[in-house]
Symmetry: C2
């Protein structure tokens, strides 16, 4: 009836492989090996590799949006919500240690390839950016909400990059503690 299952498997496998090996280094053959379908069968689901990339980005965008929506409920206050964001570093520290941040590394790779999909990959950042911005606005930081959002995003990216370079999970925890303190400081100055 439907190819949803196979197609979804392909996209999810590609998602993981693009993260762990990079987009360009991941081949059709490698994805096929994971999904356990023949290489030739790809053409039925995706005409080009770029189409898979688009699907992967779309998948990540969807998953991210769902996560952000969930945080709006789970985190009672804006501060608690922003803490949810910071906490990704802790939750994913094992993978980050090995492969960095999935968003940051993909964006960087596509930038170097001058790939058309880089714009879409950046939308992943934008999703976090505007979500964080609105949370900082709720904290009373109307003028510099975007600045704070970008700052927090940058801090997270830096932590991921360094933790990956030095294979250092402890550094992640160290910096997360500082980020919590930084956040608390911006709460006090708002009230």
């Amino acid at each position: 009836m439907s190819d949803k299952s196979t197609r979804a498997h392909i996209v999810e496998a590609a998602d993981q492989l693009f993260y762990q090996q990079g987009f360009e280094h991941t081949s059709f053959a490698h994805i096929a090996e994971v999904v356990k379908i023949s290489r030739g069968n790809f053409y039925y689901h995706f005409k080009t590799k770029d189409e898979i990339l688009d699907a992967v980005i779309y998948l990540r965008l969807s998953k991210t949006q769902i996560m952000l929506d969930k945080w709006l409920i789970e985190g009672g206050t804006p501060v608690e919500r922003i803490r949810c964001f910071i906490n990704i570093l802790i939750l994913n520290r094992e993978k980050i240690k090995h492969f960095g941040c999935p968003v940051g590394t993909l964006t960087s790779e596509l930038a170097k390839l001058k790939h058309a999909a880089q714009k879409d990959a950046t939308k992943l950042f934008s999703l976090f950016r505007f979500w964080l911005k609105s949370q900082f606005q709720l904290l009373g930081h109307m003028k510099n909400a975007d600045e704070l959002a970008m700052h927090l995003l940058a801090r997270s990216q830096g932590v991921a990059t360094m933790a990956c370079a030095f294979n250092d999970e402890k550094f992640i925890k160290q910096e997360v503690t500082q980020l919590y303190e930084w956040l608390d400081h911006y709460v006090d100055s708002a009230t």
Copy 2:
């Protein structure tokens, strides 16, 4: 007499291309095109692509060491020296906007490729790390000098990643200003 000239040209061209296009995406053919030598001639200077990568990393290590040594003289005080480091973001903002940080992006790429040279690439970070650490120690921060050095490195990496993602030079200047203020804070607390 010597192949220094040609060899140096190859390494320098590879250095630029690895930065702007990534290591894996850069082919022998592309380097040859830039250096204007035949593809086959590579084998005389470098047996494998990995040897070129090693040479590029060694070149970057050398250049970095020279730069750090220079800063020790130019920057009179430890604070002025650390400012030299922060100022790279401003000096290289145009390239960072397009390709990110050469150290961070290379390290990330090699990590995903599980490439043996990743360890050497990380040495580039170590060079900065220990140099910054000693400067913070001179500022009186004996216990957390390394922590501060890593923090500053991470901040810089984050700025580069986000500036590249959003093609935003203004964000670099914004964050550099904050980094200067952050640094000043750590000067005051030392005296």
